[in-house]
Symmetry: C2
Subunit: 182 residues, 2 copies
DNA sequence: GGTTGACATGTCGATACTGACACGTCTAGC
DNA sequence: GCTAGACGTGTCAGTATCGACATGTCAACC
């Protein structure tokens, strides 16, 4: 049920945002840590408004509704942040496949690991390039903690890539005689 | 839709397993990379049987049904492993909260990060202790790739703990004057 | 004046997932 | 003989999520 809190936090930070604005944030920055579809988003905005945690503070052109957080919403946000524990959502398809590596031929298994290593390397390069472009020192942006999550992403992907390289080696050592090059 | 494939892979590895047996595996080893509830599991076993990907190869006491993978199931498993790409399931409540750190008081924010650092350190200790107990060299177990995921878990938690320590420091540097000790 | 594209909100059906409940069996120990 | 506890399968209601579809507005450019 964290979409609720993601929206609450976002509206707290971006007073007067519309559903459309929020959707953009999910697509661009928040999407790396929490995904949501448009239909889910508008539905949840309705529920939050009904529940009195946010309110429509203004209406604009094209039916635009601008949302603000209410005192009740702010209280709920703080409650969530400091009085509840996040439960780790263990679901990782990439790792799941590793569990079943022995069910496919060695060349398929090695191929899978190679693809993962390449993909992770590519995404690391993308991040490095992105980091040079982003105007970090600009005022008024969501750049404060966005910077923290960016660093997290870098460490996360590097850790996964390194682990896959290690895992590939382990796999080969257990199956001597398999060609090492693809 | 990966529960389907998790079951397929598990049944391929453990021929003759029952729903109950599979549930135990989810609770103990597989649960770290993919979670499933009992109701989901039995439902999916029914669908897989209907679809001809697995079959009831024997029945035992207490209504026990033992499942085996069919050729069609094995083909689907391989298809999934080598011809489809895993989509990273981006949903991390721990990181989501970091995004909204500025919405709570500094002591709450620091408190949150400290709690996370403690929790991660604790789980790293648990893992280290667990690793010494597990009979790695035993035959017939799921220990082959379980070892890989165990190492992954260690690296993952260490990376997160280190990142939180770094993030905490970043946070404090942006807010000089906040007491550093809890 | 027309068209493209960003802005903007919503609904709907199908799945996926959760947590609780319901039911029955076999074994070991008292 | 009884009972606790593991073994074993299943249903159901409620919620979350996804992907597609429907609808309309405003600004800019040609």
């Amino acid at each position: 049920m964290s979409l609720r809190h993601a929206l609450l936090g976002l509206i707290a930070e971006m007073d007067g945002a519309s559903g459309y604005d929020l959707m953009k944030v999910f697509e661009i920055s928040l999407g790396t840590v929490w995904q949501a579809t448009q239909s889910q988003l508008y539905g949840e905005l309705g529920k939050l408004t009904e529940g009195g945690l946010i309110e429509v503070s203004a209406e604009g052109p094209r039916g635009r509704k601008e949302y603000s957080i209410t005192p009740a919403g702010r209280a709920e946000l703080r409650h969530w942040m400091v009085e509840t524990d996040p439960k780790p959502h263990r679901r990782d398809e990439v790792l799941l496949r590793v569990f079943f590596l022995d069910q496919v031929a060695p060349e398929d298994a090695l191929g899978y690991m190679d693809r993962m290593i390449d993909a992770l390397s590519g995404r690391l390069d993308d991040l490095a390039r992105l980091e040079e472009i982003v105007p970090w020192e600009e005022e008024g942006g969501l750049t404060g903690n966005g910077r923290l999550t960016m660093e997290y992403g870098k460490r996360f992907m590097a850790m996964r890539r390194d682990w896959f390289v290690w895992a590939r080696k382990q796999y080969e050592e257990r199956r001597p005689g398999t060609a090492s090059e693809a």
